[in-house]
């Protein structure tokens, strides 16, 4: 019985790894949701008394970003708050709300940029705000459209790092490490069976080719990323 149980428990390595990864992810998701939810509640409590505090808590809820759950609600509510403040004429506070909304969403990016709808709205407001400020600091002089365009371009700049090549860098790195380890184990097995070196190279040519290929891709991808 014990052996049966043991056999069931010991599946292939990748299955065990997947199970472990799933447990880890589940834990992270649950933990982050609890945190985001707590911040969201605090933000709602602070909403009527101090919008500034509410903005801070919404921002912290957004720092526990997940593609679903409380952080999404926080993003929408923070945008609503920013709009409300803007309509009430409290432009500076609205500015802070949009700054934090944009900052938190930017910090939550991975292989995609989350909530492009909110980001573009925030960018639009921020560029407008800065253009107005600039014009007022110049005594009402200045080309609003040019300034707005100038700021918007910078806000919408997503940097020059290529996530695709970044992915290739990491993948090829893991690849050459993996194949090199395989080569070591292939060339120095525990068995005492002697195979001539040249024959060994021929036998393990796939491993060697893969190692070299991954190494080359690693170098090239680092240049391109």
């Amino acid at each position: 019985m014990v052996n049966d149980l043991k056999n069931k428990a010991s599946g292939p390595f990748w299955v065990k790894s997947l199970i472990l990864a799933a447990i880890f992810l589940l834990f992270i998701v649950a933990f982050m949701e609890v945190k985001a939810n707590r911040e969201l509640k605090l933000a709602r409590i602070a909403l009527s008394q101090s919008p500034k505090t509410a903005i801070r808590h919404y921002f912290q809820a957004l720092n526990w970003y997940a593609p679903w759950g409380s952080s999404q609600v926080a993003a929408d509510e923070l945008k609503d708050l920013a709009d409300r403040l803007k309509n009430e004429g409290r432009v500076d506070l609205a500015y802070e709300a949009y700054l934090r909304l944009r900052g938190a969403l930017n910090a939550a990016r991975s292989f995609y940029w989350p909530r492009p709808d909110l980001q573009s709205k925030a960018n639009d407001f921020l560029a407008n705000y800065l253009a107005d400020k600039k014009i007022s600091s110049m005594g009402g002089q200045g080309d609003k459209i040019r300034l707005y365009g100038y700021y918007l371009e910078i806000y919408e700049d997503k940097g020059n790092f290529s996530e695709f090549y970044g992915f290739l860098v990491v993948l090829s790195f893991l690849g050459w490490v993996f194949y090199f380890v395989k080569i070591i184990w292939a060339f120095f097995p525990l068995s005492s069976e002697k195979v001539p070196f040249r024959q060994k190279i021929y036998l393990e040519k796939i491993l060697i080719i893969m190692f070299v290929a991954c190494y080359v891709v690693w170098i090239l991808a680092m240049k391109a990323a």
């Binding site: 945190k35 526990w64 997940a66 910090a107 600091s137 020059n160 184990w185 525990l190 680092m222």
Partner: protein
């Protein structure tokens, strides 16, 4: 029956796996949600953009941490922290495996408890815990060291040459995580070159040499991971390119830490202090449990000596190297993690032997359970509440929160100068992303521009070049002269302009009130910045905030804040004290510091502060009493300082100042002479001693002393040529107007 079935089913590996996973969960719960302190923000950025971090660059960490940054959960920095937590769990698991092999455990036994108890303490040891709960390279480093030990054990047990060469390859990769691992080469050689596997029948010098050559080859393949720095820097578009490693020479300087080698290894130069600092280190680490563990540590060492002699020697050598190279870093518990590994490994072995001894009398099971429960309770009571000051328990997104409000409140089109502390880099990055209207200068690029690339990408028109008062434009990579000219312009009352797009703007320094700028005295523009801060009225804000902070600490009504306060103070105290000194608010300064020392003193007369901070506070008091002309008090504190740190040149420097103020030539000269003898690199000590010579003896003697000492100066190592020039100008009594011409090295010599 169920008990027996469970015992059989739960193998050591599963038990270790469950325990390690639990550790990971605990690390995740306690992990800093923001960027943390020190290098965290920088490493988070370098992992996200695959950039070049500070020496030695940490390419392995960046490449592995990058994987977690694709996880669409949480903020980017938090994902990198998750990676760190995972490596912490891996370190615990690997140490468990190593212990299992050394204990010879392959099925459930009561001895597990003797294995798990030290493992529990290892997992929650202050250094390991701190390293696993913030963005740092150390927990990966610990995991790699243990993995290397495991490879050596497997090779010695006769599992084949692959383990030896795999270990060599892993060692190369590991040096790519933290180059300090290269220091442990003698340990690796002991474990490989001088070790013969159990099943190897014949071994001779030739075979060993061949093994060593192949080992070196595989090591080099692993070490080639450093090409990452060279190639990434050559792309010339990194947000953070610390060291600009775009040439082989720069790469080597970066990896070998040439820029800061004097500072990082100054402890090695002062080898006489070794035992003193080891004592301090042990005091810092000690708790009743450490004393309790000491006999088991020795028992474990004895057991290992009998079972695997070379490994026991190797571990002792590892502790020795670790202590010798890092003993000066008395607060850097992370620097001592290799020693921590050895300590827990050997203690666990000792406990295992104890378990075996008890098993003879059929007591192991009961005592094992009791011991485990005792250890857990004692650990919770003694360690958890007081040791984890580094972790941000209150989930305040600390670093982000510090910077954000000030960034948001910067006036439009402001020009911001930020300090060189490298986590400001991320603040600048945030600022850049969030406030494109604000022009940025990274203070470090002012002081040491040859080490850094501009923060703002070159394609961006906001790349800043300082324009001198005469309108000429300074080229960007001008070592040190950059800050030198700005300083001179400011000093002369000339406005300094910054080129901003196609416009120019006057330099308006802006400092964030809470910005923790330590290393205050080390950088060129400090005094100028403090002056500006006072003139701009920020001082009042600063002081108000600081008073409130001290009141909170003294009142103790904010436990989370008070808990991390001693470490936190390290970052905030120096600018405040500096400002108090500048404003001549001596009484308030003395009162504040004495309150702090009383609040954070321990019954045994030591303090809760990190050792550095304790020294700083005593030095501050000695200086303040000197300014108050209460010389007996000043000397009392200077002597206390000497008791706390007897080999510190700065103590003698302060003592000299006190004697000098009282016009006591013999004592002044003796104290300052001693300072120059202890620290052969600090210019201000030479400067003061030479001035005292000129004042109390003869000008010729001063010149002769300086000329002699100037020959030992290495321009690269000294770094700050401007400082040197200013000091020499004063020493040689040059008229102030001649400061415009910076003397060359030849002139000085």
């Amino acid at each position: 029956m169920i008990k027996n079935t469970l015992k059989e089913l739960i193998s050591v590996n599963y038990l270790l796996g469950i325990f390690s996973l639990a550790c990971v969960f605990f690390y995740v719960i306690c992990a800093t949600p923001g960027y943390g302190w020190r290098d965290g923000p920088e490493l988070a950025v370098t992992a996200v953009f695959l950039d070049v971090a500070h020496p030695s660059g940490f390419p392995l960490y960046n490449l592995l941490a990058k994987i977690l940054t694709w996880l669409p959960l949480g903020a980017l920095a938090y994902r990198v922290t998750l990676f760190t937590a995972l490596t912490g769990g891996a370190a615990v698991f690997l140490l468990g495996l190593a212990l299992k092999r050394l204990h010879g455990l392959d099925q459930a036994e009561p001895k597990y408890f003797f294995l798990l108890a030290p493992l529990l303490f290892f997992a929650f040891h202050q250094g390991i815990f701190a390293a696993a709960t913030e963005v740092e390279v150390y927990s990966l480093n610990v995991a790699l060291i243990i993995a290397l030990l495991l490879c050596a054990i497997k090779w010695r047990e006769g599992h084949g040459l692959a383990w030896l060469y795999g270990g060599g390859f892993l060692y190369g990769l590991s040096c790519g995580n933290h180059a300090s691992l290269a220091l442990y080469l003698p340990v690796l050689l002991l474990l490989t070159f001088w070790t013969r596997p159990e099943n190897m029948e014949r071994d001779n010098a030739r075979a060993r040499l061949i093994r060593l050559s192949l080992l070196a080859l595989f090591f080099l393949v692993g070490l080639s991971i450093y090409l990452f720095l060279l190639i990434r820097s050559q792309t010339d578009r990194l947000p953070v390119d610390f060291g600009r490693t775009n040439t082989w020479v720069r790469l080597w300087r970066h990896i070998s830490d040439a820029k800061d080698s004097d500072y990082h290894f100054k402890g090695v130069l002062n080898y006489k202090e070794l035992f003193y600092f080891l004592k301090i280190q042990f005091q810092n680490l000690s708790s009743p449990l450490i004393w309790l563990a000491l006999p088991f540590f020795l028992w474990g060492l004895r057991f290992l000596w009998l079972y695997y002699q070379i490994l026991s020697v190797a571990l002792v050598v590892l502790i020795g190297i670790n202590s010798f190279f890092f003993y000066y870093w008395i607060d850097g518990s992370a620097a001592f993690l290799p020693t921590v590994i050895c300590f827990f490994l050997l203690t666990s072995l000792g406990l295992g032997q104890f378990g075996r001894y008890l098993a003879k009398y059929g007591l192991a099971s009961k005592i094992g359970f009791t011991a485990l429960i005792f250890f857990i309770l004692a650990g919770v009571y003694l360690i958890l509440p007081q040791r984890y000051r580094e972790a941000d328990f209150d989930a305040g997104f600390m670093a982000t929160e510090l910077f954000w409000p000030d960034m948001a409140n910067l006036p439009p089109e402001a020009i911001a100068i930020h300090r060189a502390q490298w986590f400001s880099e991320l603040a600048l990055h945030h600022l850049y992303v969030a406030r494109p209207d604000v022009a940025l200068i990274w203070h470090a690029s002012l002081v040491n521009p040859h080490f850094f690339s501009p923060l703002v990408p070159a394609k961006n028109p906001r790349l800043l070049y300082p324009t001198l008062a005469d309108g000429s434009l300074l080229p960007p990579n001008t070592p040190n002269f950059f800050s030198y000219f700005i300083f001179l312009n400011m000093e002369a009352g000339k406005p300094v302009y910054l080129q901003y797009n196609d416009e120019t703007a006057e330099l308006l320094p802006y400092m964030t009130p809470e910005e923790p700028f330590m290393w205050m005295g080390r950088l060129t523009l400090d005094k100028w910045m403090v002056d500006k801060l006072i003139k701009n009225g920020s001082y009042a804000t600063y002081l108000k905030w600081f008073r409130g902070y001290i009141a909170q600490l003294a009142g103790g009504y904010d436990p989370p804040l008070a808990k991390k306060a001693p470490a936190y103070l390290m970052y905030i105290s120096s600018p405040i004290f500096r400002l108090m000194t500048e404003k001549n608010e001596i009484k308030e300064g003395i009162l504040t510091v004495e309150t702090l020392l009383t609040t954070f003193s321990k019954p045994d007369g030591t303090f809760l502060f990190p050792h550095d901070v304790t020294l700083n506070l005593h030095a501050f008091l000695a200086n303040m009493y000197r300014k108050e002309k209460k010389y007996s008090k000043a000397i009392e504190y200077a002597h206390k300082l000497n008791t706390l740190s007897p080999f510190n040149a700065y103590n003698y420097y302060i003592l000299g100042l006190i004697y000098d103020n009282q016009a006591m030539p013999t004592e002044t000269l003796a104290a300052w002479r001693k300072a120059t003898e202890i620290d052969k690199y600090e210019i201000s000590f030479f400067y003061n001693y030479s001035l005292a010579l000129a004042k109390y003896k003869s000008f010729d003697e001063a010149i002769s002393f300086l000329t002699e000492r100037a020959k030992t100066f290495d321009e690269e190592k000294m770094g700050n040529l401007r400082d040197l020039a200013l000091k020499f100008r004063d020493c040689f009594l040059l008229p102030p107007e001649e400061i415009g011409e910076l003397p060359t090295r030849e002139d000085l010599l």
